[in-house]
């Protein structure tokens, strides 16, 4: 860890003790981006006005699986309709994974020959308004030769199931196998065999702003400009250029203000290809704004995992081995760049959680179905894996008759084992996992856990407490992405730091800020290095023509990666500033100069940043001899290791369950969290609480069920429930700090963490509440209907047992 850094926060020993009042790392600095957003002056994709722009509506498949026998387009609208045959030469999305046996699929921008899910784009319609484009879409007749839908992932693997991709000979995309330790020995030594099937249902990401693309040709610059509501504009430029056959220098991709992403805007989208290809063929700007129904049907889905787990444990609940069969419903196609294989591979890789488990067998199957492709969503596979292992641990605790928290402590990796290499080769860098568990349990009420209180309240309402712990691999670098076999290796981030002649600072970064507060937190890093007021730092991002090539915002990476890059760039900028300042003040030794509050200070002499900027940019005659003019540094940052910085937490929740109505109320929710060095506690808490709210959605509300014909049954927000302000309790966050030894400032990522544990913690709490009734809930969302069914089944079981 670097320890010698400039700091202005009161003579501390290093940057990590920045007080909340500081403007640097650790300070609760209010956000720079708020001024425009809070006054409604943000510029989201749909806010961009452009003369002559036309709207696009997609005609989407109404059936799950069919051959397209023909598309009949009336002559009077033919000119405004584009189908696959009009997009000759446009390449499909083809994501390939390094996993042995992985089957690739072509995911065309507009369906070719076959449709494979309800919502798949079939034709594109252009008109002066979206309403008219939808009118045109309604006049197109597509002749579908329907094929059997492939709806259930387990049934999809059975002999005789219809195949999603004709040339595959089955629906298995790939299977990953892990065999570590001696399973037979563990089985023989075990006092108990605990088995369970745990399932997360299919859901959507639902950023409040849908996706959107706007494209036009800029003839002056001879380039195609594509605005997209995306999390990674540079990477999109690369793959988009490839798909539509244009040189990258002639393509600019811009992400304007983005109204939430959460991973679902982190894929190459068929609509991006279609709009870019369209803009190359017409003479006016075009835009497509995803509406909510399109989002629920056509944007990548998430979470549909099944875990069949067997734990072999001793009489105290010490886990001797875990045997896992994991299935992931990847839908019809692989999304780029992640591929269909990522979820299952990741789930198998992290299933053992924060626990010291040395014997582990996993079979992780990725299965194609005629449903919307699955892609990354906040937490990605971590949420499913956490649900599996944390539910299993509670079942183990019940089997051995111990407190679930005690069983967790029994198995958890201990601080003295750090750095700890897991049975699947993940390297936990630092932290005290048991401490987070102890703190969460203490905060939620130890008595509640220890006493197994479950007394019936009014109307038969029952109380339960549940906990779930996890680790969150963040900011993983080259080594991890290479191991995952992805087409792009997200190992670094760049930053350019440029001082303006008047002493302000511009940071140009390759990430994309869509709510994370990076226009402020990166400015705080600059303050840490340069002593400049964060309010005087402009953070520019989200534009492939603006900053050096960067990877984007996902995988809880931006603060570590872009923060590291800004830190490096500013550190180098500082060296030059000190030389110039020393020269201007006639101080012989630049090391005697300090940067403080926008000034360079040496003893009782000082110059403002404006004088330094002016010398560098406007007055080379004022510079020390031999020093180049200009004040601009580009730096690229890679963390010390590629294996990531591991944040971790324990969530604890107290619930009230009404067994008769099936309703659940969250009475209290605690997160005991450690993400290393906190750059801005306000932003960190916001990320955690927001993540928990999404996790509550997964646990209790959000689901896109499909009927046997492959029809999705939730296509509006009337059927697809999102948690509102009464469904999310006030969440209490407890921070501890174990800096990462591998990253600048000891920062760890944390964007996804909040969404990982809620389904597990809430399910554990509900199961505890209902255990006296004999009811079990192992599938999300734990809806009133599912609870009532479980209670009814338990009663029927009891009646049967009694008779």
């Amino acid at each position: 860890m670097r320890t010698t850094r400039h700091t202005d926060d009161g003579g501390g020993t290093g940057p990590m003790d920045g007080a909340e009042g500081s403007k640097g790392i650790g300070g609760r600095v209010l956000r720079n981006e708020d001024a425009r957003l809070v006054s409604g002056r943000g510029q989201f994709l749909g806010d961009i006005a452009m003369p002559g722009i036309r709207d696009v509506a997609f005609l989407r498949s109404p059936v799950a699986h069919a051959r397209i026998a023909g598309i009949d387009i009336p002559d009077d609208i033919r000119a405004f309709v584009h189908t696959a045959e009009d997009f000759e030469g446009v390449a499909p999305i083809r994501a390939t994974a390094g996993v042995p046996g992985f089957k690739s699929s072509d995911y065309p921008a507009l369906a070719k020959g076959k449709v494979r899910f309800v919502g798949e784009p079939v034709a594109l319609c252009v008109a002066p308004s979206r309403a008219e484009a939808e009118d045109i879409a309604q006049q197109i007749f597509v002749d579908y030769d329907e094929l059997p839908a492939v709806v259930d992932m387990d049934a999809a693997l059975e002999r005789g199931a219809a195949t999603v991709h004709d040339d595959w000979g089955g629906n298995l995309v790939c299977e990953l196998k892990i065999d570590q330790g001696d399973m037979a020995e563990a089985e023989a030594a075990a006092a108990h065999r605990v088995e369970g099937e745990y399932r997360l249902s299919r859901q959507a990401g639902v950023p409040l702003e849908g996706r959107g693309v706007l494209a036009y040709r800029d003839h002056r610059l001879d380039e195609l400009v594509v605005y997209s509501s995306t999390q990674f504009p540079h990477v999109i430029r690369t793959i988009l250029a490839e798909c539509i056959g244009i040189e990258e220098r002639r393509l600019r991709v811009v992400a304007p203000d983005v109204g939430g992403g959460f991973g679902v805007k982190n894929n190459l989208q068929p609509e991006e290809i279609a709009l870019a290809a369209l803009a190359m063929r017409v003479d006016h700007p075009v835009r497509w704004l995803e509406d909510r129904r399109e989002h629920l049907l056509g944007c990548a889905h998430a979470r549909e995992h099944r875990y069949h787990l067997v734990g072999h444990v001793d009489e105290r609940g010490r886990i001797l081995a875990v045997d896992a069969r994991i299935r992931v419903d990847a839908g019809a196609y692989s999304v780029w760049p992640w591929t269909a294989a990522m979820e299952a591979g990741m789930a198998a890789g992290i299933l053992v959680g924060p626990y010291d488990i040395r014997t582990y067998r996993a079979r992780a199957a990725t299965i194609a179905t005629t449903k919307t492709p699955m892609g990354p969503y906040r937490g990605v596979a971590r949420t499913g894996a956490c649900f599996g292992i944390e539910r299993l641990i509670d079942d183990i605790a019940a089997a051995v008759g111990r407190d679930p928290a005690e069983v967790r402590l029994e198995n958890m990796v201990r601080p003295e084992q750090m750095p700890y290499r897991t049975v699947t080769n993940k390297v936990f860098d630092s932290g005290d996992y048991p401490e987070s568990l102890r703190r969460a349990v203490e905060a939620i009420g130890r008595d509640a856990v220890a006493g197994r209180e479950a007394e019936a309240l009014a109307d038969g309402v029952r109380i339960g407490v549940g906990v779930a712990s996890y680790t969150e691999q963040t900011a993983h670098g080259t080594e991890e992405w290479v191991a995952r076999g992805l087409p792009v290796i997200f190992g670094y981030e760049p930053a350019t730091a440029r001082m303006t002649p008047d002493g302000g600072l511009v940071l140009e970064v390759g990430i994309q800020n869509h709510g994370q507060g990076l226009e402020t937190t990166l400015a705080q890093v600059a303050h840490q290095e340069l002593g400049i007021d964060p309010a005087k730092v402009a953070v520019r991002h989200g534009d492939s023509s603006l900053s050096p090539y960067g990877m984007g915002t996902f995988a809880s990476r931006s603060m570590v990666m872009a923060g590291g890059a800004v830190g490096l760039a500013c550190e180098r900028l500082r060296e030059k500033m000190l030389k110039i300042a020393a020269h201007l003040m006639q101080v012989a030794d630049p090391t005697e100069v300090m940067l403080l509050d926008g000034r360079a200070v040496a003893g009782n002499r000082s110059v403002g940043f404006g004088e330094i900027g002016a010398a560098a940019c406007l007055h080379p005659e004022r510079l020390p001899p031999g020093l180049d003019p200009g004040l601009e540094v580009t730096a690229v940052y890679q963390p010390g290791v590629g294996s990531g910085a591991f944040s971790y937490a324990t969530h604890a929740v107290r619930v009230a369950v009404d067994p008769e109505l099936g309703t659940v109320r969250l009475l209290d929710y605690v997160v005991a969290h450690d993400c290393g060095t906190v750059v801005n506690p306000m932003v960190v808490e916001g990320q955690i609480v927001g993540g928990v709210a999404q996790g509550i959605g997964t646990a209790l509300y959000e689901e896109i069920p499909y009927d046997e014909h492959g029809q999705p049954l939730a296509s509006t927000l009337m059927d697809y429930l999102l948690p509102g302000a009464t469904e999310v309790p006030d969440i209490r966050v407890i921070h501890t700090c174990s800096p990462s030894p591998h990253t600048s400032y000891g920062i760890k990522g944390l964007g996804e963490g909040g969404a990982i544990a809620p389904p597990a913690a809430i399910a554990n709490a509900i199961n505890e509440a209902l255990r006296p009734l004999g009811a079990r809930l192992d599938e999300t969302p734990i809806s009133p209907a599912r609870i009532r069914a479980a209670v009814r089944a338990a009663r029927a079981g009891k009646r049967e047992a009694a008779s």
Binding site: D291, T726, R792
Partner: protein, 281 residues
Amino acid sequence: MKPASFDYYRARDLDVATAVLAEHEGAARILAGGQSLVPMLNLRLAPVAMLVDVGDIAELRQGARDGDGVRIGACVTHAAIEDGAVPDATRGLLGRVAAGIAYRAIRTRGTIGGSLALADPAAEWPVTMLALDATVRVHGPHGKRDIAMRDMVLGAYTTAVEEAEIVESIAVPALSAGARHGVFKVCRKTGEYAASIGVAVSDREAGRHALALGGLTGGPARLGRVERRLSEIEAWSAETGEAIREAAVADLAERDDEMSEDERGLHAATAVRTVKDMIAP
């Protein structure tokens, strides 16, 4: 998500409005608050050639005392009832029900007449008005007629209102000073449509006891066996609850013998909780 084209007609009075409706033979729809209709239009789920806007007809926007009771114009908004902007003869029941409908920004536009005419099975007003023995007045090509709430809702989204008729007002009888009422809804989240909803009224002075349930297939229903029990209940106890439940299960079985065990259990629980809300809130 934009509607297909339709024409628009702003009606100045009810006669003109019914004439336009009649002319379009089922292809015209009435626009009141639009809070249910316009979403359906946006989703292109409701083909409509013509919208007849009755929102500017002043008489529909008024509520006034009518004998002991109150007559509420069809275009009175939920928010107006919530805020007490129209007189109340129900000891606060209407205000309480109104305040629980969807969200404020819906309540400021959505109307009581629109809710009754749409007859969403999960909606608050049909079940509430059924419990109150209210009467709907409709205006049609052949004049006005009154429809008792018991005869109003024929099923989900189906009412006794004819094609060219417009709901004009609803007459709500008064409750006595000592009357009590209870409301209970089973919703997964705030403002969401209820899976089950109950409204109970107990007016000893008038000898009237009512329990209406909504969320049922086929429209809201009164539960006769439960209502007969209501007259006997003095205080709440577990036994009372069980008695209500038994009566509700019998009523529900009689009404719909295809109802699943789960639905029956849920609605019976709603009946119990509604009565409990009335007696021991």
